[in-house]
Amino acid sequence: MSAMVDDDLWSAVGDPTRRRMIDLLLGEGGGTATSLSEHLPVTRQAVAKHLAVLDRVGLVHASTRGRERHYRVDEDQLARAVAQFTEVGNAWDARMQRIKRIAERIQRGRDGLDGKGGKSDTDSRRADTGGRLEEPEQQDRQEQ
């Protein structure tokens, strides 16, 4: 798919009202502009416009049931959107953990040189796994 689609997808999910609508649709197994507007501080017309945006990027699909269009979330497309958020987020999680390890290693080195009693960092020089999210809540903070 093109960058355009991806950008639209981002914009579609980036709006708080539309995210709330997706939550509602998931929770209720679907809904109409009328049913959604009952749970939201916006008019039915506004909800209908938001639904059109979500429909255009394939995050919801409509079927006609009775007098109103009934919408359901396309979970595959939603998964795709979320995966895109997650990818960039994961990359930064990994980078932030590396920044933390590097800075703390330098700090320990400095404290050691200054004679402030920094501990040896042989055990805390963990291998950089390249992006595990967990950082054990600092077993090596006894230097303060």
């Binding site: 991806d6 950008d7 980036g14 995210r19 939550d23 979320v82 960039v88 953990q97 400095r110 303060q144």
Partner: protein, 165 residues
């Protein structure tokens, strides 16, 4: 100097990734790690050639997966105010001046916290640029961990984006 910093409040743009972390190191140390080319290559690109002078053209390089050659991305420091703030733009086209709409903006804000530093990072510009670049960027150093568990993530992600406004 720069007006980019104040052109948008952090989080105002919806396409923003935001991360915050406590580091047991002085702000001066953390600032050096997030801003100097020598340290940048320890936590992100394989090559980093840029000056800390705002607006000056620079670039960062990523070794290609097949090991043959380097993919370069443009990189320009937007603001450097040690030890509190460092921001840069990247992925604009070579020869273009980095600006909103043609690049991603990364901001680091540092605050002393206890014996260490609270480091806050935001990256924005996705909404203007589309996601292909973001995905490519992400793939340099992170693997995608599958599509499972996406609903809770959307909720927590949404809460984060929403609350940052």
């Amino acid at each position: 100097m720069t007006d980019m910093k104040s052109s948008k409040a952090p989080g105002e743009e919806l396409g923003t990734i935001e991360r915050e972390l406590h580091i047991d190191a002085d702000p001066e140390v953390v600032f050096d790690v997030v801003s100097s080319p020598e340290h940048l290559t320890e936590w992100w690109p394989d090559e980093a050639r840029y000056s800390s002078v705002p607006g000056e053209a620079g670039r960062i390089g990523f070794r290609k997966d097949d090991g043959e050659g380097i993919t370069w991305e443009q990189f320009t420091v937007v603001d450097a105010a040690p030890p509190r703030h460092f921001s840069f733009r990247w992925t604009h086209l070579e020869g273009e001046k980095a600006a909103p709409g043609n690049s991603f903006l990364v901001r680091f804000d540092l605050e002393p916290a206890g014996t260490g530093t609270r480091l806050r990072m935001t990256e924005s510009g996705f909404r203007e640029r589309g996601w292909d670049e973001a995905k490519i960027a992400a793939e340099y150093h992170a693997h995608v961990d599958g599509w499972g568990h996406f609903l809770p993530r959307l909720v927590s992600y949404g809460a984060k984006v929403g609350s940052s406004r």
